[in-house]
């Protein structure tokens, strides 16, 4: 049985969203499962006609077969992987009995030696990062405890920036699509990923969300991770920076209690600062604790609800995006120069 989605053993399971199929292994066993691909494949879609299409692929045991495949967008996957696609809507990676998702887990396991436990996730994250860099996209991964005000902060940030450049959002929660709905209400595209019992987003989940959202060139890509100050620290998604959010209604010693996250982040937003006059919270002590764990941390004090301090944070995003854009145009310019040089050499022959 597939440990991720639990399919197999009881006949074919063709879910309304996602796809499954039956096949025969080299040893004669027949079973059905939602499929993983051993080979890299790319395919284009004509969304105007239909979102479904057919393609064939080869399993590690040599069996080649074709089957219909339903999803939107275009995608290239780095390695073998398990996936469940739907049309539009949100992604639920907690649907199997394990109620958790493992990047790269599939029935058709590739023979490959990697020693680092996180190497599979890191490969997916690197593929996402490559795509972001090639398209001048600035990607941020927002992490915090539940209740720090991440979604409110995102909504406020989007409202202030959406006239300047395209923005899209990935929302991670164990259950519900409430947060994605709050983001969509601002008018920007958002996809909700439900992790089920999973405690973090991983590179593979975000890769699917990127395909689905298909972010524009030179745009801002925001990921709101599952509210959890421990687990998301270890799982790269392909982002340029992790942004940790600490609110003044929490303890000043939180960076010391959960050092991995504040160490993994490059930026910390101290949120809900409008409440400081009513609290005993020592903002300077909180900042000192965060810098003890991570001396290079950039810190902004903000109030997402009142708007105080937001301009410095927005400027930081603008400059990050500008750096990505110029990096991309430099790459394009370098490629054009190279082409011109090759053409000149051909002309001399």
């Amino acid at each position: 049985m597939c440990t991720v989605c639990g399919c197999g053993g009881d006949g074919a399971r063709v879910a309304e969203e996602g796809h499954a199929h039956t096949h025969v292994h080299a040893d004669g066993t027949v079973h059905s499962h939602a499929h993983g691909h051993g080979d890299e494949h790319a395919h284009a879609h004509d969304a105007a006609v239909a979102d479904a299409h057919e393609h064939s692929h080869r399993h590690t045991d040599g069996v080649v077969h074709s089957h219909p495949h339903v999803h939107q967008g275009e995608h290239v996957h780095p390695q073998d992987h398990h996936h469940e696609h739907g049309i539009g809507g949100d992604l639920d990676f907690g649907a199997g009995p394990a109620r958790a998702h493992v990047p790269g887990m599939s029935q058709a396991r590739m023979v490959q030696i990697e020693q680092d436990i996180l190497s599979k996730n890191d490969a997916y994250a690197a593929a996402n990062r490559k795509r972001f860099d090639e398209h001048g996209i600035f990607a941020l991964n927002l992490v915090s405890s539940p209740g720090s005000g991440k979604t409110t902060l995102l909504v406020r940030t989007i409202e202030l920036l959406k006239g300047e450049f395209p923005v899209c959002v990935v929302e991670g929660d164990q259950q519900t699509s409430n947060d994605a709905e709050r983001i969509r209400a601002t008018g920007v595209p958002a996809i909700q990923i439900n992790t089920g019992k999973g405690c973090h987003l991983d590179g593979h989940m975000v890769g699917h969300a990127v395909e689905r959202l298909n972010p524009a060139d030179d745009s801002l890509f925001l990921v709101e991770n599952v509210g959890n100050l421990v687990c998301p620290a270890a799982f790269a998604l392909g982002e340029h920076h992790k942004v940790a959010i600490l609110s003044v209604t929490e303890g000043e010693d939180k960076p010391l209690k959960y050092p991995d996250m504040f160490r993994a982040a490059d930026v910390m937003l101290l949120n809900k600062c409008d409440l400081l006059p009513h609290l005993d919270f020592d903002a300077d002590l909180a900042e000192a604790n965060a810098r003890r764990v991570n001396p290079d941390l950039t810190i902004f004090r903000v109030s997402a609800t009142r708007g105080e301090g937001m301009s410095a944070w927005l400027d930081w995003i603008r400059s990050g995006l500008e750096a990505q854009r110029s990096r991309r145009s430099e790459t394009v310019a370098a490629l054009k120069d190279r082409i011109a040089e090759l053409e000149r050499q051909l002309g001399n022959r």
Binding site: T3, A98, M105, M110, Q112, I113, E114, H200, D260
Partner: protein
């Protein structure tokens, strides 16, 4: 419970190697877990036993190689032992210590038959 995801990641690497080697079953899995890594060996072992049930590694024993933490202090320049995650330099008290060992999370080797 990110130990569950890590345990499944370990199982995946173990199964791949076992199949490639044509193994009947896996007897022992040796993991290298640094003292400064974000994983608790006991929790990982518990999850590993849960996810390997019924697999080629269902009866495998799990062994951990403990890797002590060490790092270079950016202020005094010494290489020092690190007891706690992001702990201070024992020589000069600075918190600007870059960990160089102890953050490992690796599958070192497996014993198969």
């Amino acid at each position: 419970m990110h130990e569950m995801s890590l345990a499944e990641g370990v199982l995946q690497l173990v199964e791949e190697t076992a199949r490639r080697e044509g193994a009947g079953r896996v007897l022992r899995v040796v993991l290298e877990i640094g003292r400064l890594s974000s994983v608790e060996p006991e929790a990982l072992k518990f999850c590993f036993d849960a996810v390997t049930r019924g697999s080629i590694a269902g009866e495998a024993a799990v062994e951990f190689i403990d890797v002590p933490g060490s790092g270079g202090c950016l202020d005094c320049g010494r290489t020092v032992a690190l007891e706690a995650v992001y702990g201070p330099c024992p020589e000069c008290g600075s918190y600007r210590v870059q960990a160089s060992t102890g953050t490992e999370m690796r599958v070192r080797e497996i014993e198969i038959e």
